[in-house]
């Protein structure tokens, strides 16, 4: 249950700042997802924690102990790589035993530990197989077992599921998160998939251009995104250009819309802002009487489990999502009434 502190950490690669003055406190025993688009610095941050890169500036502390100058092989962390990096010249059991052998663990102890790990990752019958005989999901499990072999103080995963197909991926996300809860090991997962982060993380760290934009519980990041980038990256969101006219109100589409104070940017400054509102909070009404706005239906997408309606309101496109049961009876070209449930909307920086 090792906690991790990152203090004003930076990494510059020949003029390019990959990680830019990052401060982060990660409590022990949690699963953290570093989330962001490719090139945002999340993998570099993970490699800095692992010791595979030297920071240009700043410090990393594990359980209060400064890691500066400790080479990667003396940190006793476990890591799963994007390519999985399983050793093709070794069998499954030899791969898992590799970190134990390096540490001079007795042969018998090695074997029982490998058995135990294979049971843990649900591959009890595989020890003699070669790596190239395994399926993608099985390789995944072997990589996880190898990383966990020495009971590492930190468990690091770099886009571990990116090679798997969609169904297996969702399944492994759940399994990995259950495994982490069972072991209670501090885990950091790098991903660019917001669904993956929402599924697994205790804390989501959203990054862009080397900086941490927001670090919070998944639902908090979803409900109260720190800025429009976060709002756009986590789930789909309607971002409406607006003017903040009071601490708890914005002006958009020529009307004043109340937004509860404290959602999103909390400083009450007046000026240009963005109103972030989720598609499920945009309600379409065929009757125009009780509506706040009017808009026209541009496209209806019936996904079976939900219905999306693309609307045009004064030239701005809005997305509405509802469950099939609440499906409004509208068709393309029709003018409809629109309600915004602003109690869950957020004001963000433009």
């Amino acid at each position: 249950m090792s906690g991790l502190s990152i203090r004003s950490l930076s990494k510059v690669f020949g003029g390019l700042t990959a990680v830019d003055d990052v401060d982060l406190e990660i409590p022990g025993g949690k699963l953290i997802c570093l989330l962001g688009p490719s090139g945002c610095g999340k993998t570099t941050l993970l490699r800095l924690i692992a010791g595979l890169e030297e920071p240009t500036d700043g410090r990393i502390l594990v359980d209060g102990q400064d890691q500066s100058g400790i080479p990667a092989h003396k940190r006793d962390f476990g890591m799963v790589f994007q390519s999985l990096a399983l050793f093709p010249h070794l069998s499954v059991a030899e791969n898992i035993a590799y970190p134990l052998k390096i540490r001079g663990v007795e042969r018998a102890d090695c074997e029982s530990r490998v058995q135990e790990l294979l049971r843990l990752v649900k591959l009890p019958d595989a020890p003699r197989r070669r790596i190239h005989q395994l399926s993608g999901g099985q390789r995944q499990r072997v990589a996880i077992a190898r990383a966990l072999a020495i009971d590492p103080s930190l468990f690091l995963l770099d886009e571990p599921l990116s090679a798997l197909d969609a169904n297996l991926r969702e399944h492994m996300q759940i399994e990995l998160s259950q495994l982490q809860k069972t072991l209670g090991i501090t885990t950091i997962v790098v991903t660019h998939d917001q669904r993956e982060a929402m599924t697994m993380a205790d804390i989501v760290v959203v990054m862009d251009r080397g900086r941490v934009l927001q670090a919070a519980r998944p639902i908090e990041v979803y409900r109260k995104p720190a800025n429009s980038f976060v709002a756009g990256f986590i789930g789909s969101s309607n971002l409406i250009r607006c003017r903040r006219v009071a601490a708890d109100a914005v002006e958009a589409f020529g009307r004043t819309i109340p937004v509860p104070f404290g959602n999103g940017v909390s400083s009450a400054g007046v000026g240009d802002a963005m109103l972030s509102i989720r598609p499920e909070d945009v309600v379409v009404r065929p009757d125009l009487e009780k509506a706040e706005f009017r808009g026209s239906v541009e496209f209806v997408r019936d996904l079976g489990s939900s219905v999306e309606i693309h609307l045009s309101v004064q030239g701005v496109t809005l997305l509405s999502a509802s469950s099939p049961r609440d499906r409004p009876n509208v068709s393309v070209g029709q003018t409809v009434g629109i309600l915004l449930h602003t109690d869950r909307a957020a004001i963000t920086a433009p």
Binding site: A72, S83, A85, I102, L156
Partner: protein, 284 residues
């Protein structure tokens, strides 16, 4: 898929196949036949079928030549691969631009024939230019002396000859190596050196064997360096083949030796192909 009949592609192959048959397969057939022919003093040879050219292999003199040839080639191949592996490995991790510049240079060295290499090394190791002079100048030796001909100078030349070929074989393999593999070893607690020895080296085993065999075959074929950089006792099989063919005008005996050298080389190339096929089989 396409119902329309394709015109046959055979015309394409006609010219290359004819050229290779007439100018490569025929010459070999003739050489094989000549190796059983009888030598004619003052002329070339006359048709016959005798094994005398091959029986000469059984003399201790020939045994010594063979041992010298194989010993030199094996030593050079080992030195070359021991140097070329880390060289290629580090090279593949440099910036793309630097890699290109160094590869251009390696290719330029590869294109040099033994004449140029022999000449360059004999100059570098001579008394009046290069090392001999340099050692005298910095006061290492009393009077400048030549370091050629000799075993060391011959080995230097052979290593110089074989090195670019080894890079040619090893470089693609190491640059395709997943960089995360040694990193995974390090995250498992292995020091950089141990990660190299326990992961990188075993994975590269096959291309290393391939390079060893290739360089061995190439240096075994060296026809001129032993003459220029070595002493007569360092003369290898190809030198004797040239000598017999041109200066002793004994083409049948030269042909017999060439067939023998060919068999040894073919066996080794075949071995490296088998090793290569195994590698392809393992990666799929």
């Amino acid at each position: 898929m396409n119902p329309r009949r394709e015109p046959a592609l055979w015309p394409l192959a006609l010219f290359p196949c004819a050229a290779l048959t007439v100018f490569f397969v025929f010459p070999f057939a003739i050489m094989l036949a000549v190796s059983f022919h009888r030598r004619v003093e003052g002329g070339f040879f006359e048709p016959a079928f005798e094994l005398s050219n091959y029986l000469r292999f059984l003399t201790p003199f020939f045994g010594k030549i063979l041992a010298t040839s194989i010993g030199l080639a094996a030593t050079a191949a080992i030195i070359v691969v021991v140097a070329a592996f880390p060289f290629s490995y580090i090279l593949s991790r440099m910036r793309r631009r630097a890699q290109s510049v160094i590869l251009v240079f390696i290719l330029s060295v590869l294109s040099l024939s033994e004449v140029i290499i022999g000449f360059a090394w004999s100059t570098l190791l001579s008394r009046t230019a290069g090392v001999g002079n340099l050692f005298h100048w910095i006061g290492l030796v009393e009077t400048p002396r030549a370091y050629t001909p000799g075993l060391v100078s011959l080995l230097l030349g052979l290593v110089y000859l074989g090195f670019p070929y080894a890079v040619l074989v090893i470089y693609p393999a190491v640059s395709r190596l997943d960089r995360e593999l040694p990193e995974a070893a390090r995250m498992s607690g292995a020091s950089p050196l141990r990660a190299f020895a326990s992961v990188t080296l075993p994975i590269m085993r096959r291309s290393i064997t391939g390079a060893l065999i290739l360089v061995f075959v190439f240096t075994l074929g060296a026809y001129l360096l032993p003459q220029v950089l070595g002493r007569p006792r360092h003369w290898t099989l190809p030198v004797h083949i040239t000598d017999q063919a041109i200066f002793q005008s004994n083409i049948p005996f030269a042909a017999a030796m060439a067939m023998f050298l060919l068999l040894v080389s073919l066996a080794l190339v075949g071995l490296s192909l088998i090793v290569g096929n195994e590698r392809q089989g393992a990666s799929t």
